[in-house]
């Protein structure tokens, strides 16, 4: 085997431009595959971190009648937990409401949250410290959509516990920046104590957000969703994104492998005299097949070296400064930071190397198999077989 590597190395280096073209294309594939997966992994990490920090906490306890995907359940999907049971939980009460910025009506989800909470990164301290009668906070996207700025007053209309419409002016106490659109777009946050007063739903909550000390237990009328369950939708979206993206890089890899396959087919065809010479010098046919296969797989090793020379500084730089995401991408409804910091894990790199080396070896072996059936006499004459 060592001999095959020595000979393959000499043959590839000796082949000059043809080798380096294949190596270049394969190295490009390496870089793209690792970059794309690193970007997705970075996005995945960031999205999970932000979702936990801003929305999911250590899990959520939802009223059994509340379905986050069905707005008709908001009206009745709420209840009260006893004090002992609500330990380590932050209550959030959700109601539908409307605001009237610049004379137009805008439907919003009105969310009451404990202003003293520290489980989520929502800046609820600004609600606590505000002197406004009904302080409110909202995310940057919501503020932009309603053309609101800090200090603005806006008319809010909601329905109380009996279904009667009521209205009051709320004051924008805080506009926060977040990567999590599900706590931003179409939502207004006010202190839950104010919301209880406004709706008459004293001590009610639609769901609770657990902190890290919460121990899940069965509570009648409430269902617990763990962090993993809450993140499953996000994981599915990212997995889908990974699959759709993989089509692109698999195509690129296929082009690179096709180039190797083509080179191997041509080599077996053009180097028949050389194959005959190897056999006449005492190589077995399987040794010659091995030599040609190693030559093909060595393209991937050269590509790995070239890819490392170009890729390592590039990836280190990108992992440090991140990659800016366009605003349009952030409107997709999934947590997406302004800058994503790709994660180039050892598993990703080793996995990609194995994928490319194994694939290159297989596509090299397929045409090389023909050698085992070659007649050495005809090979020495360079006759087509």
């Amino acid at each position: 085997m060592k001999l095959a590597f020595q000979l393959a190395y000499k043959n590839l280096v000796g082949a000059g431009l043809r080798t380096w073209l294949n190596v270049g294309v394969l190295a490009f594939s390496f870089i793209i595959i690792i970059f794309y997966n690193g970007l997705i992994d970075g996005w995945n990490e960031q999205a999970k971190y932000d979702s936990i920090a801003w929305e999911y906490g250590n899990g959520q306890l939802l009223h059994t009648e509340y379905d986050p995907f069905d707005p008709f359940t908001i009206l009745d999907g709420h209840g009260v937990l006893e004090n002992e049971q609500s330990k380590n939980l932050t209550p959030i009460l959700l109601r539908q409401a409307s605001i009237y910025p610049e004379g137009r009506m805008l439907s919003v989800a009105l969310k009451g949250i404990d202003a003293n909470q520290t489980t989520l990164e929502l800046p609820t301290a600004s609600l606590k410290n505000s002197t406004a009668k009904i302080p409110a906070m909202m995310g940057r996207n919501m503020a932009d959509a309603a053309n609101l700025k800090k200090g603005d007053e806006i008319l809010l209309r909601w329905r109380d516990q009996g279904g009667t419409f009521d209205a009051a002016k709320i004051t924008v106490a805080e506009i926060f920046e977040t990567n999590v659109p599900t706590v931003d777009g179409g939502q207004i946050w006010i202190p839950i104590s104010k919301m209880w007063e406004m709706t008459g739903l004293e001590n009610h909550a639609t769901y609770y957000v657990a902190n890290e000390n919460f121990q899940p237990k069965n509570i009648s009328d409430w269902k617990y969703k763990s962090q993993e369950v809450l993140l499953s939708d996000l994981n599915e979206i990212i997995a889908m994104k990974k699959i759709s993206g993989s089509i692109m890089y698999l195509l690129l890899l296929a082009i690179a492998l096709l180039a190797i396959f083509d080179t191997q087919v041509l080599s077996v065809f053009r180097r028949q005299k050389e194959i005959g010479t190897y056999i006449s010098l005492g190589m077995t046919r399987s040794q010659v097949v091995g030599l040609f296969t190693v030559e093909g797989s060595m393209y991937s090793i050269f590509a790995m070296i070239l890819g490392s020379i170009v890729g390592i500084p590039l990836f280190a730089y990108l992992a440090k400064i991140g990659i800016g995401m366009p605003q349009a991408s952030r409107d997709m409804g999934i947590p997406l930071a302004e800058r994503i910091f790709p994660v180039f894990g050892i598993q990703l790199i080793v996995g990609t190397i194995l994928l490319v080396v194994i694939a290159a070896t297989i596509v090299s072996f397929l045409p090389a198999r023909k050698i085992s059936k070659m007649n050495p006499v005809l090979a020495l004459k360079g006759k087509l077989q």
């Binding site: 020595q6 050389e274 010479t277 056999i279 006449s280 010098l281 005492g282 007649n375 050495p376």
Partner: protein, 236 residues
């Protein structure tokens, strides 16, 4: 009989499929070659010279009959056994040299020794010795494309001889060489034959080559026409 039989061809027939029929390249050949012979198969194109050499070199096998080389029946050898026979005991010299283009002169000659897993220091000694036999020690680092025809063929001789095989098969070695180079390489081979006792077997229709041979086997249409022993007939 110098030192005993090294090649024994018994009733060898070789047929090749041609279209739907067959072409008989060798017809019931019976020959014996002794250790240290400097012999040649002579005849026009299509007479079966190369086919017989390929069988002796274990690159091909007879359709009928037995070809015994160093006591081994070529027809009964596996791919691996025939590769081992070629690697250790048979050297080849081809009409177009068949040097490996990406290797240097040194590496081309070293190749057969690499296959035998000979240690580097010993390999180096053997390669340089073989290059000195053919007068090319100073060109060890050159690539084949920088060599003249005569030099290329001398590298091929060194490559065939470096492992000190019992038999060297030379298929039309002078076909691409001028007269001066032909005489030069034949002299070299003759010296190696005399000094190392290697059996040389040529296929040729070159009169200049024939002038060096001790024995000429005339082939015509796949059959032995005449087996001519020419004792001590050498040119210098």
């Amino acid at each position: 009989m110098k030192n005993g039989s090294i090649i024994s061809i018994k009733n060898v027939t070789k047929r090749f499929p041609v279209g739907e029929g067959e072409f008989t390249a060798l017809k019931n050949i019976n020959l014996e070659f002794q250790r240290g012979e400097f012999a040649g198969l002579v005849g026009p194109s299509g007479s079966g010279k190369t086919t017989l050499l390929n069988i002796i070199g274990s690159l091909d096998s007879p359709t009928e009959g037995d070809a015994l080389v160093l006591g081994k029946n070529i027809s009964k050898l596996s791919h691996k056994e025939s590769a081992l026979l070629r690697n250790k005991h048979i050297g080849f010299i081809f009409q177009v040299y068949n040097l490996l283009p990406v290797y240097t002169v040194y590496e081309n000659v070293e190749f057969a020794l690499l296959l035998q897993n000979i240690p580097k220091a010993q390999r180096q000694k053997m390669v340089m010795e073989a290059l000195e036999w053919v007068g090319l020690a100073s060109m060890a680092d050159k690539k084949p494309d920088k060599l003249s025809g005569g030099e290329g063929q001398r590298v091929a001789i060194a490559r065939a001889m470096v492992k000190k095989p019992e038999i060297v098969i030379a298929d039309e070695p002078s076909a691409n060489l001028d007269a001066a180079n032909t005489h030069a390489i034949l002299k070299t081979m003759r010296e190696l034959n005399e000094n190392l006792g290697t059996t040389f077997l040529f296929s040729t229709h070159d009169e200049k080559v024939m002038g060096y041979l001790d024995r000429i086997v005339h082939l015509r249409d796949g059959a032995v026409e005449e087996d001519e022993i020419i004792k001590s007939k050498t040119q210098s």
